[in-house]
Symmetry: C2
Subunit: 412 residues, 2 copies
């Protein structure tokens, strides 16, 4: 089936290394199905409400631009953190949006994002159905956190996982350089779920033991058991490496990082200090209680923007869900998210499928309890069997003058 | 000329992404010149004094292992921070070392490192000359800081510079994702010199403005001028990116990072907090004085261990200085360092040459004043002309199971 109407696509929430591959998938599928124009909303729904439309044809008429797009981190279109109100409470943004859709002859809207973005798609499709609009709304999953339900995994996770595993492996090399005992605590993103922290286990191989301890938000932090384990490890080896999710809480349900920043500290200007610091907290704890040399490392925002180290599997799947979302809309479907279903682990095979976007919006997928070791300080082989295929293969950056070339709105 | 005696090699000081390429260069040149055994000192001179010898033939008999060695970050042999005493004050370590050299029939010693390592080579060669030892001592330069004199640049710098430029470019993409004003401050290694901070300028290209401000330790921090410039920038653009060397000092000569940690802060356990924080200091300063959203990012230890993003130019040159050092020793030379001399910028061409190791040990090379803009907040085109060739080309990691494979002492 072919498009006679235009298509609109937006990106929302935190970026990933491959969110632009999904944009490429939407764009190329829509064009190949005959869409006269593929428009982008700049800064997501929030920008769209301010009339920020861009015509993507002016950026992607050449296949070389698509290749650069796949290699450009962050959200090409810009993003937002914005939740639509319930239409029953305030239907003004809906009326404004549907008017914009009509003015631009939009037949389908695609939104690339996480839970909140799926909530947006659910609300828009419900509103559309209520007013008998023919416009189709399809969600395209994206998040490094991998916490979306009804999909085997989310595009963005594989690349973040590959980044975490690779640089942790390099940091472990660096840890062992001096002939002294030391503990390194690496802080990994993931406020609510431990999917990304668990990926630290993928550093393990014939040439590396990987992290000695992994702490996930799925388990409350047990200080005594933790210190006993670290003490046991430091007695038998020179260098101990700990991977910790930023979202780990103590037994009272308080984030460890808040135990640092609520200690009444002030910055150099007498204001309350802003210290992100789950790794800092644990490094201090080990140093003070066990008298051991420690260092804390935050893997930082690079986890969501290190396109130079993207997983080719992830890049490909991100593109595929974007393309399959367009096909679904072309077939008249709406109010759905294009998910990934795993057919087998070995050989790794997946396919796309459509799931209810409302359900996705309301759920959060956590690491299964049986994939965490009984002591709560490691992930199991099942976790590795799940995650290892997602970090396979690479997409070589196009290096110009020694650094990867990107593409941006405004500098075609 | 050919070797009939054995060869000994060590690594010292902080690691780099290519220090092992120099080890590969020493090993392969020594073997090709006929050295019966190439020994490594584990944990540098400090480990050697404890008798820590390894026979490298058991690790590198296969060329595949050499390829892995070139791709393995950190120091394969381990390292130390250790200065030999003056022989006139205490000659015991010298007697011990020369006895070990004799026991292992060592004809030449190579030490891969920075200023302190060159000091070690200078002292050993002077002691050797005084006792009429035939052993030759040659230094092989290495440091991400690029602060060694008498060499155009140091192996290790190009890869660290490529890492800094690449990830800063990715972070700049990430900065612009939301439609809000924000300032990002990225902290880059370099306690005394701004070579690595200056490399942030290499993020600039047709697709990126690069950092808006670069602060180097070569200039004292002028708070008023800095805030005026940030204010000017935030008035004209959404996202401002600042690269700052960890070693920047205020007008009184105090490290900015010490202004944070001497503010009397305590960690969560009531101990004095250890906060590395030049970027944190500046981010707080901007937030408090200009009321702007800020974030601080430390590029951390990855700057010295991100072999997955090494510069091929750097890998090659690190190998070459290692090999040329062996050739120099084979020709009977001693008390020298194998430096890099640049023949031309465009096309980039270099050769190796031998320089006095004692002079290298005593000097520190800073960024030339004329390569820093008059306001002290950027580097000039001359800096880029110097540094850009050093980050060219890549050495693809060998990925196994999705992560780069390395080689370690003990897991051949």
């Amino acid at each position: 089936m072919a498009w006679t109407t235009n298509v609109l696509v937006g990106q929302s929430g935190g970026p990933t290394a491959v969110i632009n591959s999904s944009l490429a998938g939407v764009y190329e599928s829509a064009k190949s199905l005959g869409a006269p124009h593929v428009y982008g909303m700049q800064y997501g729904i929030e920008g769209l409400l301010q009339g920020k439309f861009v015509d993507l044809d002016q950026y992607f008429s050449d296949k070389m631009q698509i290749e650069l797009l796949k290699r450009t981190p962050s959200s090409f279109l810009g993003s937002c953190r914005f939740k639509l109100p319930e239409a029953s409470v305030d239907d003004r943004p809906y009326r404004k949006l549907f008017q914009l859709f009509e003015e631009h002859a939009i037949g389908a809207v695609f939104y690339i994002g996480g839970n909140d973005s799926m909530d947006t798609i659910a609300k828009l499709s419900a509103y559309g159905a209520a007013i008998n609009s023919p416009i189709r709304f399809i969600g395209v999953p994206k998040t490094i956190d991998n916490d979306l339900a009804l999909t085997d995994h989310t595009p963005g996770y594989g690349s973040a996982a590959k980044y975490v595993a690779t640089i942790l492996k390099e940091v472990i090399c660096d840890d062992s350089v001096y002939n002294i005992r030391s503990v390194t605590v690496a802080e990994i993103m993931g406020r609510h779920t431990g999917w990304l922290a668990g990926a630290a286990s993928l550093a393990k191989g014939a040439d590396s033991d990987g992290p000695d301890i992994i702490l996930l938000p799925e388990r409350r932090f047990d200080e005594a058991a933790f210190l006993a384990r670290v003490s046991e490890l430091t007695a038998t080896r020179h260098n101990v490496t700990i991977a910790v999710s930023e979202g780990v809480k103590n037994k009272d349900g308080v984030f460890l990082c808040d135990l640092v920043s609520t200690a009444g500290q002030l910055d150099a200007f007498g204001h309350k200090a802003i210290l992100s610091g789950t790794s800092r907290y644990l490094a201090d704890l080990i140093r003070v209680r066990l008298g051991c040399k420690t260092r804390a490392i935050e893997f930082s925002t690079l986890q969501r923007c290190a396109s130079h180290l993207a997983s080719r599997t992830d890049v490909t799947e991100a593109y595929q869900v974007g393309g399959a979302a367009v096909e679904a809309a072309a077939e008249g479907k709406t109010g759905l998210m294009c998910a990934i279903r795993r057919l087998s682990d070995q050989p790794y095979q997946v396919t796309t499928e459509l799931v209810d976007v409302q359900q996705v919006a309301n759920l959060e997928k956590r690491v299964p309890d049986e994939w965490i070791t009984p002591d709560g300080m490691q992930v199991t082989e099942e976790f590795e069997r799940y995650a290892r295929p997602l970090i396979q293969a690479e997409l070589t950056p196009i290096y110009i003058n020694g650094v990867p070339r990107h593409i941006h709105l405004g500098n075609v």
